[in-house]
């Protein structure tokens, strides 16, 4: 691995956003291979961050600042990827379900997926079935991610999936769900394609669904 790519890797894991920005710019100026920069400098450290979270060494704050550092780098890398026609791992539309205004968990998932190489379209909070449908039609995503924090809003996930069925887009996308009250049993009940209990496992789930 290039010395500067290794430094970027460390800066992402340590949540040093300004360091990542400076070093990514320097790497781009020096003509470092863009795919190596993306895979070794962005995706690989976020994978390690996810693993540190799984093992209980990292908590939400460490994950958030690492993801922020990664995003600082991605802002510079993305235009180059686009110019060189390098495709993302997949396209994901994500949002918090209708009636629910909470998004820390959803944002973490979104950042971990971005860190896993996915193109993210984040619809924010309180996303109605209609808004999800519009986004599916406009962006043609591979995956739709829906989150809920409350048991009172969780059941709107079911309504959202039924709405997709009514409008004949359900088969076009894989739907993954998550959030504090959500369980695998609920995912099975409403016929979602996947459930993940945390942001790291959500990234693994998305990769797995893309490979299927």
């Amino acid at each position: 691995m290039d010395k500067i790519v290794k430094e970027i890797y460390d800066a992402v894991v340590n949540g040093n956003a300004s360091g990542v920005k400076t070093k990514v710019q320097a790497a781009l100026d020096a003509g470092v291979n863009i795919e190596s920069l993306l895979n070794e400098g962005m995706i690989a450290p976020m994978k390690e961050v996810g693993e540190l979270f799984e093992t209980g060494e990292y908590f939400v704050p460490e994950m958030l600042i690492a993801a922020r550092a990664m995003q600082a780098g991605m802002t510079l890398i993305r235009p180059v990827l686009l110019a060189q026609d390098i495709k993302p791992a997949g396209k994901v539309v994500i949002g918090t379900v209708k009636g629910d205004l909470h998004d820390i968990g959803k944002n973490l998932v979104s950042m971990m997926l971005e860190g896993a190489g996915f193109e993210m379209i984040d619809l924010g909070t309180d996303v109605s079935p209609e808004k999800f449908l519009e986004a599916i039609q406009a962006h043609q995503p591979d995956i739709v991610g829906i989150s809920a924090l409350l048991t009172t809003t969780m059941t709107n996930m079911d309504a959202t999936l039924r709405y997709f069925e009514e409008h004949k887009v359900r088969d076009q996308v894989k739907v993954i769900i998550g959030g504090a009250p959500v369980t695998q049993a609920y995912a099975n009940t409403i016929g979602a394609d996947g459930y993940a209990p945390d942001a790291n496992q959500a990234a693994a789930l998305a990769r797995q669904l893309m490979a299927a």
């Binding site: 949540g15 704050p61 600042i65 009636g99 998004d103 309180d126 048991t151 504090a180 009250p181």
Partner: protein
């Protein structure tokens, strides 16, 4: 006259004591700290332990002063006597007295932070009245300092901003007046605090109907739709609809 044990979250303290005093039944109350709200996976074993400890004490039923509470009551098992739970998601529905009324309030303003006298008095933070929002100012400042030490100033500002971002999307502070006693200065303080957060303030009159029905044994009636009675050996399960709970035979 029956003899019941009520295991309840401390957010119901004053209404429950008041209702128990005037109930036709003999009620023992055991309060459990409200911070378990944040940790449903700890709530479940804690409540089960309390249920188990109260076996063979001559109670005819164990009444739970809880709702679904973020799935914290799922899987609880009735042992030798029935376990009774109101069919509600949380304490707000319980204090509004009606799941439908809660759904309507939620539909109207989903970004509502609810307060009650007991919620304030029984804070885990050294008994202080809480400022509006779940993070008191002093605690927030302390948290900021910890973040600065651990991750630097730039990241600390980002974390405080990110972790508190939901507050900007909330629009209303609602004080639930249960009519048990005059709320003292708390209501006024809330009103002032809500201005600081740019939230609308509203005092809403609560309704003790569900809590009263729980203590008075309304659930034993044939058409009691506000409660589920879990018979001995069976456990609490979820329905994902307006019934909230169902019973899984043991």
């Amino acid at each position: 006259m029956s003899r019941y044990l009520c295991i309840a979250c401390e957010v119901f303290a004053r209404p429950l004591y008041s209702l128990a005093a005037t109930s036709p039944n003999v009620i023992d109350i055991q309060l459990v700290q409200r911070s378990l709200h944040d940790e449903p996976n700890k709530m479940r074993p804690k409540l089960q332990k309390k249920i188990d400890m109260m076996e063979d004490r001559g109670y005819e039923a164990v009444l739970l002063g809880y709702g679904l509470c973020g799935n914290g009551t799922l899987g609880l098992q009735a042992r030798t006597v029935p376990l009774v739970i109101p069919r509600v998601h949380d304490c707000i529905a319980m204090l509004l007295g009606d799941a439908k009324r809660y759904a309507d309030e939620f539909e109207k303003t989903p970004g509502t932070y609810w307060f009650t006298q007991d919620f304030a008095e029984r804070s885990d933070e050294e008994g202080k009245f809480r400022s509006l929002g779940p993070i008191p100012d002093e605690a927030l400042a302390k948290q900021y300092d910890v973040f600065v030490t651990q991750y630097g100033k730039d990241n600390a500002e980002y974390l405080i901003e990110t972790l508190g971002s939901w507050q900007r999307r909330y629009q209303r502070a609602a004080f639930l007046d249960m009519g048990v006693l005059e709320p003292d200065g708390y209501k006024t303080k809330l009103e002032a605090d809500s201005e600081r957060f740019d939230w609308a303030f509203e005092a809403i009159t609560g309704d003790l109907k569900i809590l009263r029905g729980l203590l008075n044994g309304d659930w034993a009636k044939k058409d009691a739709k506000n409660f589920i009675v879990i018979p001995p050996g069976s456990s609490v399960d979820i329905t994902y609809d307006k019934h909230v709970f169902r019973c899984t035979p043991g």
